[in-house]
Symmetry: C2
Amino acid sequence: MDRLIEAIERMRNPSVIGLDPTPQLVPSQLIASYADEVAAMVEEPEEIAALQLATAYFAFNRAIIDAVSDIVPAVKPQIAMYEALGPAGVDAYAMTCEYAQECGLYVIGDIKRGDIGSTASAYAHHLTGVPALPGHDSGSDTGHGGAEGPDDPWHEDAITVNPYLGADGVMPFVEAARHSGKDIFVLVHTSNPSSAQLQELELKDGGMVHERVARLVESWGSSTRGSYGYSAVGGVYGATFAAKAPSVRASLPHTMLLVPGYGAQGGTAADVADLFDTDGRGAIVSSSRGIIGAWRHADRYDDSSSADESLSLVADSARLAAVDMRDALRSAVYR
Amino acid sequence: MDRLIEAIERMRNPSVIGLDPTPQLVPSQLIASYADEVAAMVEEPEEIAALQLATAYFAFNRAIIDAVSDIVPAVKPQIAMYEALGPAGVDAYAMTCEYAQECGLYVIGDIKRGDIGSTASAYAHHLTGVPALPGHDSGSDTGHGGAEGPDDPWHEDAITVNPYLGADGVMPFVEAARHSGKDIFVLVHTSNPSSAQLQELELKDGGMVHERVARLVESWGSSTRGSYGYSAVGGVYGATFAAKAPSVRASLPHTMLLVPGYGAQGGTAADVADLFDTDGRGAIVSSSRGIIGAWRHADRYDDSSSADESLSLVADSARLAAVDMRDALRSAVYR
């Protein structure tokens, strides 16, 4: 986790921008501008929508990355938004991760994978790169294929992981993180309304399910601690549980927290401040719609503007919103 | 769930073949046979391994599908195996699903997705197809894009879903299943050793976490029941919990069970028999390595055989193993 922590300190900005485009969050004139180019490329007319959206998503993301890469340490593309378009969208996801890494950003792939051991090992190639061909000695099984390696098709520095399968579904990711110098963030307590249905079930032995998961996360990471005391196994903890923040921070002394739910979902800088340790470390706060959709509330917005004008508005608005978020977090966290 | 149940009854075979290739499960001469063709196609030499494996995986899957499509009702590709190769692997996954559907098979995409509501809605496009372009009236939001629709890039008839996020992470999939005439299978109790860590935690109000999830699964599906009483919301239940099978069947009267853990993971036909109802319905049993890796135990196998010979051995061995599994399940289930 050292790389992420140092990137945060360089920027004095513990925030990460969620790159979660949807057909509604991307200016329609930008999407429309690719119509002819895409129509000339596809074999079947039915394939136009997916490729047109995928092309627009990448252009949209690139504009935002260019606008913020000098002030934010990390981005977090949510792969669901890209899978909605099929394999063409998955290509745009990987291209986005690659471009963000090239711009010096730490990339958290929000993929929430999890499965039984042998399958989790396959998913863990997100971190370690493509498996070696039979009879070849290279590839991820020997620990090659790090963030900059040429056989790393996903270009992620960290991924999110679902803990429902238990340790044997998580440890392959921990091992992969260790080998590749990358990180994972395991879901602990999510920011959505019905997270309570499972995560807040009260256990016979005391405490709730998410508290038990928190304890597991601490133990899963115990052999991977870095220079700042934080392990390669972080946790996802919703910004919407402000009241519990001090006890969460205390119960997870070696767990970096990825905190969604800021902004559009209702969390404020004050809500998340207690998730940081006394050195101002230990958490990174995520916002997506509040940053990438900021252009929709800009005075300058006009339906008749060109694709290029809309893209420049997206970029300018995202930067303003990212600065606002950074400054709010700075005041709340670096006390 | 009617389509799956009817396919099972036509074949008198409640089994599904897991298409989960790995570099070890695919004959090395088959992988090697694509070396020159792939090397001529890629831009960077580092991309060869991923594309060579992806090409071999698809050829491997196609041979197995051709060998079994007249005797099994369904296949279940595990997307993790393909994601291990990056976007090139994801293409092979979608091509495999498409080919299987063209051969008349019901395709269960084993993707175990799950996230907060708005993100789950994006993942749900796996079932409903690509979202409409802004200003266009077609696409999934109007309920178009079913299994055969041209804007359906994933070609899945059902997908698996992770319940850790609770109802708002699952209901978008339920709605998508309803609109598209497809199905989902929610993880209830998985077959791996450490599933106990979370799923068997004892609750203060009695019962275990997986039993509470089972109850939720029944309720989530309640408005989607088909002609046989089973809803569009199935459950994943490991074959390794034989002792509990009768009570599981009784507690989930409207939930079709997808049962992994048969064969390589230790489950037998007798173990799973009690997961079926008295009409011999209500469950479909999955095997992967036992079928697609059967060629490795064949007498005919010889390292010096050609790629074509190895592929024909894969196909013949898979068919024999699939017939064995079918016959074992028939004896145990159709009593």
